[in-house]
Symmetry: C2
Subunit: 379 residues, 2 copies
Amino acid sequence: MKKEYLLTPGPTPLPPQVSLAMAKPIIHHRTPQFQEILKEASAGLKWAFQTANDVFIISASGTGAMEAAVVNLLSCGDAALVVQGGKFGERWTELCKAYGIKAEVVDVEWGKAVSPEEIAKRLKANPQIKAVFATLCETSTGVDNDIQAIAAVVKQTPAVLAVDAISGLGAVDLKTDAWGVDVVVAGSQKGLMLPPGLGFISLSAKAWKLVEESKTGRYYLDLRKAKKALDKNDTPFTSGITLIIALNEALKLMQADGLENIFKRHRVMADATRAAVKALGMELFAPTAASDGVTAAKVPAGLDGEKLVKTMRDTYGVTIAGGQEELKGKVIRIAHMGYIAESDIILGITCLEKVLAQMGYKFNLGAGVKAAEEVFLKG
Amino acid sequence: MKKEYLLTPGPTPLPPQVSLAMAKPIIHHRTPQFQEILKEASAGLKWAFQTANDVFIISASGTGAMEAAVVNLLSCGDAALVVQGGKFGERWTELCKAYGIKAEVVDVEWGKAVSPEEIAKRLKANPQIKAVFATLCETSTGVDNDIQAIAAVVKQTPAVLAVDAISGLGAVDLKTDAWGVDVVVAGSQKGLMLPPGLGFISLSAKAWKLVEESKTGRYYLDLRKAKKALDKNDTPFTSGITLIIALNEALKLMQADGLENIFKRHRVMADATRAAVKALGMELFAPTAASDGVTAAKVPAGLDGEKLVKTMRDTYGVTIAGGQEELKGKVIRIAHMGYIAESDIILGITCLEKVLAQMGYKFNLGAGVKAAEEVFLKG
């Protein structure tokens, strides 16, 4: 009888419409029937990405789509600038290194957002830089970077801006075309409310010039193949049929809400979560750039953060995330991204309170949930 | 009220247990709960692959797993031998070319199996060859290659043998360890009865030596990362959670049957399908090496093969496959792979008879299904 709740920043919970779509009998992908589905998915993705450019669907986790950005844009020996303020920023650096790309790192303190001025300075100092790699929501630290400001800087230079929006897209605003973001990478298992297994990538005309120049070996992730296929309403390799059918269900739900409402819902849930943990006497890990997709809070001194997460999950069925790498045991992360509602935040906070109390932490029981309720009342 | 039947060689139909598993609420992948699931999947895959080596799960279509074989085994300038007798053999060649690997091609006539002697001759003539790439079931032509005989040849040389068993694994026998096949690549959407989206790869100790030597840039498909993660019962990037949970359901069904029974069932269905199309006066495309996973038959002279496939699918709900590339319109392909039973073959053949009759083709109505029944009666 234990009820299970998922408050993690990927995977996120699945709407029943999405789950049920995956239980339907499978259909073949090289049929007019599936072509209709793919057409709908393409249109829906353009809407979600806020772009008029093609959004390509890759059967891979989000990292596969990040790699598609790197190998299609750059060649061995090229220079890139990487914003690195957490585990996922580091992934861009690792990807560049794997392909012999000279990655200059903007080393941002974990828990802070990058300064767009710093990016401007670096680009000025090194005009060889062909691409800037950044992260929308750095899930590992609970930080949202100011992509609009970064794009404003990068678009004045010959470099392209590639944003890892795996975490964030469909939860916080990212005006791909209006802001001039050249490459946007996303994944299925976060704001898009699907299981993991699909990666997405959109490219501007400026980025396509680099794709044509890149000499990096590539096949499965070759976006020239993806473009050729999409122009015929197809994918170059066997499509992730079930997930694409589920994607259309998720996109329908999102379109019924509208992007502005979706972003507002995330903002309110984030405000409530932040208010709740602060009311419990916990400190935000990223007070100046807290993400609207996931809240990272410092584990109170003297408490075992890993035990906190484990007890909430294994004893009470509420799965939140702990810290990764250097933050292991030091932070908890509560996601409010995708198919998560006020009710989920409320029960997540009450469960957090219960376990904190059991672990001997001193606070006013109910203070967290009251703070969240106050935010939700205002809306 | 139109009932839909899928008789295609990937995707193949899904057992209800698999479909329903995908409709369950999602769980997080970095949890002890998912680690148990991954452990079960790893053990089940070793059983299905008939190997004691690790089988790695990659979130990608089968082609992604083929690419993992190429980039992990070889570097730019290395020599490889590719068996090419259809669209999927060609894929190995294309993959090699994309990475600057010198692919020597054994050009096998479409519809024929490769001669193991020819491979022996080529390996003797070019001792630089580091890897031989072959195909278990060449789905495009309906041919099964004699992997046991090929392995017997290759294992006497310093080269490794990598087999694309995307089509075939779980349908026809492939004794990875007993025959000495170094690398086996598979995909989820064929004999393993899942939707597309997972690729699998196993490697022998001989193959791992090449993995350590390879200088090819790689990240998402880097099997060293996969090994490091699997040793901790994890995946290097977000796991394909839903499909892996479904995989365990499929493996349970397969294990309840046993491999010998599974292979026999496929053999009998293949015999029945071959007998049926011959009784209809149609010629097998691959009479000397016909696959037990899929039957390719030549479209009778004067008939429009594409229309035949289209009518069966769009008017009667029975989806079979047509020919690909140079075989477009010239063959039909009826799959008997994965979750396909005698009943599916029977209804596929009756539907084929109906449409052939409507298209004016002269034959004895019922002859095909009678021939199939005769085979099934004998069992």
